[in-house]
Assembly symmetry: D2
Amino acid sequence: MPEDVGTAAGTLYQDMRSAHLTPLWTLEGDIMSTTPRPKSRPWMWKWSTLYDIAERAGRSVPVERGGDRRAIALSNPGLGGLPYATNTLWAAVQWLNGREVAPAHRHTSNAVRFIIDGAGSYSTVDGDQVFLERGDLVLTPAWTWHDHGSISQERAIWMDGLDIPLNNYLDASFFEPYPKASQAPSGTLNGTVLKYGVGQMRPAWEKPSTSPPMSTYKWGDTERALTNLAQADASPFDDVALEFTNPHTGSAVLPTLGCWIQLIRPGVRTRAHRHTGSAVYLAFEGHGSTIIDGMRFDWGPGDMFVVPSWAFHEHWNASSERAILFSINDLPVVAGLGKYREQPFDQGDGHQNIAGAFDSKA
Amino acid sequence: MPEDVGTAAGTLYQDMRSAHLTPLWTLEGDIMSTTPRPKSRPWMWKWSTLYDIAERAGRSVPVERGGDRRAIALSNPGLGGLPYATNTLWAAVQWLNGREVAPAHRHTSNAVRFIIDGAGSYSTVDGDQVFLERGDLVLTPAWTWHDHGSISQERAIWMDGLDIPLNNYLDASFFEPYPKASQAPSGTLNGTVLKYGVGQMRPAWEKPSTSPPMSTYKWGDTERALTNLAQADASPFDDVALEFTNPHTGSAVLPTLGCWIQLIRPGVRTRAHRHTGSAVYLAFEGHGSTIIDGMRFDWGPGDMFVVPSWAFHEHWNASSERAILFSINDLPVVAGLGKYREQPFDQGDGHQNIAGAFDSKA
Amino acid sequence: MPEDVGTAAGTLYQDMRSAHLTPLWTLEGDIMSTTPRPKSRPWMWKWSTLYDIAERAGRSVPVERGGDRRAIALSNPGLGGLPYATNTLWAAVQWLNGREVAPAHRHTSNAVRFIIDGAGSYSTVDGDQVFLERGDLVLTPAWTWHDHGSISQERAIWMDGLDIPLNNYLDASFFEPYPKASQAPSGTLNGTVLKYGVGQMRPAWEKPSTSPPMSTYKWGDTERALTNLAQADASPFDDVALEFTNPHTGSAVLPTLGCWIQLIRPGVRTRAHRHTGSAVYLAFEGHGSTIIDGMRFDWGPGDMFVVPSWAFHEHWNASSERAILFSINDLPVVAGLGKYREQPFDQGDGHQNIAGAFDSKA
Amino acid sequence: MPEDVGTAAGTLYQDMRSAHLTPLWTLEGDIMSTTPRPKSRPWMWKWSTLYDIAERAGRSVPVERGGDRRAIALSNPGLGGLPYATNTLWAAVQWLNGREVAPAHRHTSNAVRFIIDGAGSYSTVDGDQVFLERGDLVLTPAWTWHDHGSISQERAIWMDGLDIPLNNYLDASFFEPYPKASQAPSGTLNGTVLKYGVGQMRPAWEKPSTSPPMSTYKWGDTERALTNLAQADASPFDDVALEFTNPHTGSAVLPTLGCWIQLIRPGVRTRAHRHTGSAVYLAFEGHGSTIIDGMRFDWGPGDMFVVPSWAFHEHWNASSERAILFSINDLPVVAGLGKYREQPFDQGDGHQNIAGAFDSKA
């Protein structure tokens, strides 16, 4: 029988506190919630804002050692000022002026870039130089040396996606500058693309690579895959959606980052569902809307938006042109650690009621 | 050439802030540190304190729906009041009075228990009832129903290890109470131990299981493995250290939790090293010291302590009796996501200079 | 001490024989040879012969139930009359007249086809209809329904590769005719190619497939991969050699069959090596020679030849045009079971002395 | 329209033969049978015969270089004089006199031994010396050095199981004698058993091993696993059956050989089934019968018998004592290459009608 619970417990809780102990029974609902309670909020950053800010940074801020990159990070308003797009994902817009060099370094964060406008810029990843063209996906896996440069007069602009939040959460950040500003590229331009870029063929003398063997997925192949798939099949929740994979293992492009490209066909409104794991989208082409937990996000080229974990979401292309979304997600982490769950929105026709449209000013 | 950087940049930064954008170049050192900067601190909780608090809770706090468990969580002083032992690990001492029932539930957090004193208590995991004996490791993988009970008059006490911090970080918490207080156990006591407990044999008609097939690793086998290994080999950093594994795949016992048992032989002082990933130790038997980043932690039976990511650590058994440490770690996550790094302490004889002894009161 | 070995042993051996027992010590060298002693011999079948025989069969032999296919099997002279190209591989030339149907069936043998001249013919594999074009590789994995047909007036001709010898060796043959002559194709022509034919992209809602997801590897992609690789890298033993892979796992196209395509660049003579595992080659384009255990095999378009296990072999393109070899091999079996060994020919410049040229009439 | 098929075809077939070509349509049923047609026959070798022959060989035949082992091979009467127990499996009884040494060698065949009477004998496998005791399973994976010796005056006797037929079929045999008769054993007796013999624990500093890390599975553990499993579960087809596994991967003990131990409980008659893959059994303890394709094989301790691919089989222990069967099989090959099929005997109560009892003299 508990003896005078009130007083005994009061003292007990004080003693716990001073001993750096916390009783589970006072907080179970908080730390073991019935369903996820993400702090990240659905949010959108408009291209006009992103471009304006990036262009002004391009004029006023040099790319130098220390900063190393002119990257401007989406900072989710739910995360209390942290410069992270979601709990696990860093996303940014990066601007490189013509003839500039973003100096070579390496880090334990995994990174991808999706090129909005390449304009004569290139990346060199562990010695392999690839020119960046609109729609290309470029990988810099953890601890690979990489620098970016430009041989033209024009600025380049792209979306960055990294696992910085996760890397920091896991207390696993290492960073090292390269001794020089740039790596000497190997003799063959686009060498890894030439060797491995047709995914169903592998140099016969090589073993499968657990890291994606090629640094770049060229837009020509990506678009062809989208166009082909559209003729054959589609998902009720994501329409014509493809994941970029390591063709040597079938796994996600990086151990902590998944990358998708999605074609939302004219007139298509997908069914809503929700799942664990968060994503950051770039509207790459066309116009459409994504409804997230009842709020409508209307997007056009260059807009970026976030779908947090366990938020219902559906895509809607009400136009007569194709719309294309690129996105990064943390599904390799969430699913890889056994934390994936999915639930269709099963009311009515599978579409959410729309409570309003997102306005970042509101 | 940047035009009037000062002013333009000032306005730029204001505009960024209001647009929920953050420039990488102002924070690179913070979010991409050269080496990890864990917030978790090396810390120790003495058995006398843990036992006293738990016993008082046992007298004054009932185990009821809502709390479900009389678990008292190690709360790392570096984590700003969060009830977590490290960034990724929950560790607690749990007390169950004789004849009590900790009601059945399930959750997406993975959990392990290491039994300090079983005293007639049992766990039922997805219908398989196992009696808890000193030194047993009991698993409750994500979303398995589990309840604990006792058929004796005595209290039971054990260490809990869960991935609650990670589960919450990933926005992946689901929790469900069982309709009744207890599950009906299947007919065979210790059924999974009987079927799978000799790890190198598998029922011939079954496929390997990606989740550990048995709920319990009995102390008898564990101790035998330690005693055997001590005759054959040891690690310079961890002495006679064994990882509990899923014998059907060779992987860690749970996707997010690793479990180790270590025998530090009399007179052995291991070499120091550091690596990414954090751990919580329970001194299970004997006396010794662990030196963490130059601070000496002297431990005896029941003490629990934390080694954060990238902290140098070495173990020292200066006594003439064997010392045994049980520990949980997040290495399946850290290594599984490609974030593992290790570095030996390579000064002198591989031992750190000891700057002082830990005192939780100091 | 052995008692009167001669007589005792004589009786002993008789008694063994009648008891169906055999002493190891009398045959060790035979059943445990120092190095492999394949019965399969290096051999070549000229295109002129293959075509002539096939054409005559096309005129005089109908394709009917029972035979099901007008396939003419390479029968290695070393195998004592068995209709097998090597110990493990079946290879054949198949001829399909215009408007003919080779009736639908399925079997546990894995099969591939490499198209020499498609001419309006198609294969339907588990409902997916693909038109066959020169250079296409078409798979019919074990137990998939498949039939071949033609919508033109012209004959089609291709190379078949199957694991029939292995399937029979393992006592694992099952065969079933389809209830009708042809399957009803699904609505989408080349459906699997459209869904999966860009190997580094996977429909985002699908799991990786352990069997190759697409039935056909189109020549356009194959040739592009060869041309690309030639700019970036090559093997000293196999020149510009690519293995067809399952892009969802990186493994060979079928569990028992590997497929390669090789470009031997003008002027290239590779270094010789030998390895366990056998292969059957089709000279697809151009002219060259392969030197096998010192014998020169001069080949041109359509010729087929065999390289047995552990035979030294090198390729030589003395012409000024590119030469392309397609081949099937049993390396997935040999390597998958841990039986792979490789040895470079390390005399002189790595080229064998040529003792003579192969002549099937000699 | 075929022109004068008879004559044209006749000449055609002649021309094919001389060109080493064979028409599929004349042999499809033979090379693509509807169901497997194994040449291996169900057969049994009685212990009295095996022991008598082995003992006489022990008296009259020395163990010397060249033969290397006093092994007497089960030679399946269906295999035309080949010294193989089944298409893929070599099985033998081996006799080692007291104080003898069977000299060290290595080969690419995988081998296992199951000890009938150890009597002071030992095996040294890659330097690890293990004493052989009744019921132990000892592995010598491909290309590991191994020699056998005895420190007693008594003879030892065991069952050998190797993949010699497969190794030869694949043209992959390599063999090498060790420079000396015996290897120098490492300091620790039974070293690998001590390190890895508790299968659910792995030295924490080691990676999982794709080859079984321990050379020996001790009978004590095996028997405990059987006794435990008997309390918890059983297979309708195989009763209390366990597969020996590599605890670091869950796979079969060797890439080409599976090993099972089965307890047929008193009074149990299993249901019949058939599957692809062959097996050789050793009746290790007790008495019982196995009915294979309707023929009853009555066995007692030491008897060995064969179940070919796709033969119906069931086990029957009509006695009041436990019966234990050890067996080797080729399922890792058959299943690993995708060739596994299984079918229950679904007439009546699942038991075959018994047409007669096997008699090797008949």
